[in-house]
Symmetry: C2
Subunit: 209 residues, 2 copies
């Protein structure tokens, strides 16, 4: 029922969702949304995938949109947290930017099914939830822009267009969710290492040891 990706990663995915039935429904919703799209999925489909009745679903979630919001909120919180942890670390701007890229790429690769829903179904959120999620995205953007700006100020980086480069760095990492294939030739860590190197080149950092 659950996708292979849900067993990978360095922490229990959806561990914050309780009780267990609510978590099971969330995992089923991620799979259904990723496979058929939000609009083609019904709450009946989700309940069926979770081995539950539609009535049992409504105990935990009032609407399909509430499920999407929960998935999107947890995913965006997680992404922001990963970036912030790297930004707050010790080390040069280059080391922290490389760490942020590795961490963000790894998440989009290991959790690609979730990441696709989180990144591609934004338009299906209601206005209030959409505003909340857009604010989380602004904060993620600000974290990466902050590291790049620090690198420029410290003379480590040479970046003519800081907002544009920030957008490109995040975009490159996010698109991993589209093409990453767990059966492919590269592991999440390998893609993270490759992309960290490419991003340091983008910001004009000298090659890292």
């Amino acid at each position: 029922m659950s996708t292979a990706e849900e067993t990978s990663g360095d922490d229990a995915p959806w561990g914050e969702v309780t009780p267990e039935a609510a978590r099971r429904l969330l995992v089923a919703a991620v799979d259904a949304f990723a496979e058929r799209g939000y609009h083609a999925t019904t709450t009946r489909d989700i309940a069926g995938r979770a081995g539950m009745s539609p009535a049992a679903l409504y105990i935990h979630y009032k609407t399909k949109e509430e499920l999407l919001h929960r998935i999107s909120k947890i995913g965006h919180d997680r992404a922001l947290h990963l970036l912030q942890a790297e930004a707050d670390g010790d080390g040069t701007a280059a080391e922290r930017l490389a760490g942020a890229v590795r961490s963000f790429v790894r998440w989009h690769a290991e959790r690609h099914t979730t990441a696709r829903v989180v990144q591609y179904e934004l338009d299906a959120l209601g206005p209030e939830h959409r505003t909340e999620i857009v604010e989380l995205r602004r904060r993620s953007d600000a974290v990466v822009r902050g590291i790049i700006s620090e690198g420029v100020r410290a003379g480590e980086f040479d970046v003519p267009d800081i907002p544009g480069t920030t957008l490109a760095v995040l975009s490159l990492c996010i698109d991993v969710a589209r093409w990453f294939n767990a059966q492919g030739s590269r592991t999440p860590d390998e893609v993270g290492a490759l992309y960290a190197d490419l991003v340091l080149r983008m910001v004009g950092a000298p090659p890292q040891p």
Copy 2:
């Protein structure tokens, strides 16, 4: 009915689709797939958007999958053609790579609704059509890899991982379709110029004049 993007671009979009009714249905299908996803769209929805009856649709397309295949085939042919034209041009590898990025980005920005359908609904194609499209994608990949390899051989570029860098370059351009907003602060040409510069940095090319 048709999206704003369909009026932009440097050539008549879908000009190869005739008669006019078939073209109108195709444009309606692009809009519907982009808005609600392939699986949530019915042939009735598409006919309705085109101001036609479902029976009239079946004169032109036997199935919904045939519409998606037609959209995907035209989109991928166009993308390959744009890249190939730049690869075949005069100039150094750096000039041709920059041209390919500008052209590919511009297409994904100007035609972002179409590009989203083309890039995100691959899994909805039937096996035979999917194989055909995957082959077109392999050829696009080979064109970009070819320019990068030539730059390395000529001593213009310094690229430790040519396939990985090719993947990243195409991925960066493709993701423009996800975030590009015609009301945003950057034009397709501006994004193309920014990304061409970032990609030259990725391949270790000296700054261009």
